[in-house]
Symmetry: D3
Subunit: 134 residues, 6 copies
């Protein structure tokens, strides 16, 4: 259950600002499916608009990192932050963008290992090597 | 300052278990540089051995994800966990493995965006879409 | 599902220490509703008593910050810590204390932005400006 | 030490995109002081521009929450995320916007209490009360 | 719902690598019960094998800390990381290894207090006392 | 550097409320050493008093868990929360209460392993086994 109303398509159609964002999500992603995060953000049109603008700019434009790598980085952050919804949505997106089971297994191994060594380093308060200085 | 002694090369040479790990780090990485995390873990040989064995297995073997992608995933987790040393060491490693400034900028954009949307989704307690179910 | 029993009113009535806390919660909040966190803490009377004493001292006494501001700070922490129950209970409390939809939208924008810039700053390991020193 | 170069004023003056953002920060805040986070972000102009645009939109425009309340929410998130630089910069900003020692003491009490009850609720896995449902 | 298939006993029996791990879990723990984390990890045999090897080495071998203390430390980390499944499984394990209600109440008190003082210390950015230096 | 003044002994002597807490810390711990967290909290006497009262109640009274176990639980939480000062102070306290190097190595192994499996379980969104239900 959410802390806010999850907007239906009919409700979104009746609000110009929300409709504009939903239309752009559909056009950009080439699918009719609008997932729940946008239906929840619809309650705050300004937050909806700025969030979608950022997601579009960061995730949907060509660049130095390919779309799958960006999606896997999103997964890694979402796992570390313990965000259930985000883990589900970005794991699904990564699979849609070509993440194989072998890649997924390696991502899990890296995320698990990093979580472990992060904890050990924090426990030991390891000083930063001068060699790492910029 | 660390919570434990940071081992010098001389101290490491004098301990068979520590020496074996340090030698393998140097051989695997083809460099004489052994960074501080290993010099801190040297106080607990069993933890040192098992941690290095995992790092070697997860990061140094060929697989479906290229070494730079794995390193950037490590960076993403380290940033999310707020581990200062880990951020420094894995940013340096990613650069050594070919991360350009453009790639770094995109990684920052993804990690920043993910942190933001993770927080929004948690605030709104967005329910998982049935479409994401396996 | 909880890791402990959720106490019913009948069970709470039958235990003098738990009854005393529940009675004080109802008197302080001027409502018969006692939410689940207290029914879960009832299994450990000492933790129940000290937790309620702190909540009463920190949240229910007049001070320099008005009750709604305190509740929104509670929300911000609960979102950052990813505590589902706490997000729900404190969002409901903030609404009961007068948080409008416009305020909620601005709180979400601040919390989202802060989460993003926290991640960027951690990624870049920005040194603290001398101007911020006390 | 940062993972990137901290730009001097001279370097910023010589780059049109960076100069434009620094000029706008100075004009918006009515001070010549540009703190280090912007000097670190200057290495990635696109991230610099979008981050400043968001900070300006979320923190510097009039709205339902007064500037001090927004700054204290920023503090609460920064503390919860353990971001040293952010804690310093936003504590300084909150003081500049009028946070008294009494308000600061109450903020600390709320943030400390919330951190404690978040942990207790997570430990007990307390089920969300139906009364909190939207 | 998981992001991966939860393996049944029949499926595990049909895969040699998974069967070997499940057999060892049952033999080591002296119970036929194999909990869901292993059934989820079964999708990635390499991660399954290395995770079980570590759990067996760290949790099931005699050492300086008794099994209950190790399990309570596992609980403390799992609570701090907000991992629902982990809180449930390790609370159940701690009870199975002899954690009484009185011990549980004290663990809760310590974890709650530590979470609170961690937040206060981070808010105040308390400098480390020279007396704590190794 | 702290966000507040670190009180000297002379300053503490001159303030009745602060002096009372410092005196009690010294009497309870049987040492003249008052570490920095209390000197930072001295700026907010109400927070100082309530925090010390809780620390004394939770950590200094006899109970079902021995003092060293409580201190190691405090360490585990502090590591997971990434609190540098807290890691230092509670590692020092645990050593003072008898934590051997062997115990420390095992604590590190458990905390590292728990951090790793927490991440894996979150990544896979493993459903809670019905067997764990209370």
């Amino acid at each position: 259950m959410a802390t806010v109303k999850i907007w239906t398509d009919a409700e979104a159609e009746a609000d110009a600002r929300v409709k504009a964002v939903f239309d752009d999500i559909r056009a950009t992603r080439k699918t009719d499916f609008v997932n729940n995060v946008w239906r929840a953000l619809a309650n705050q049109p300004a937050v909806l608009e700025s969030t979608w603008a950022q997601v579009k700019a960061v995730m949907a434009q060509p660049g130095a990192l390919d779309p799958l790598t960006r999606e896997m980085l999103y997964m890694a952050v979402s796992i570390s932050n313990g965000c259930e919804y985000c883990v589900h949505s970005h794991t699904a997106s990564a699979r849609a963008k070509g993440m194989t089971e072998e890649m997924y297994a390696e991502l899990l191994a890296v995320v698990g290992l990093a979580s472990q060594t992060n904890a050990l380093v924090t426990a030991l308060q390891v000083p930063v090597d001068p060699e790492f200085k910029v």
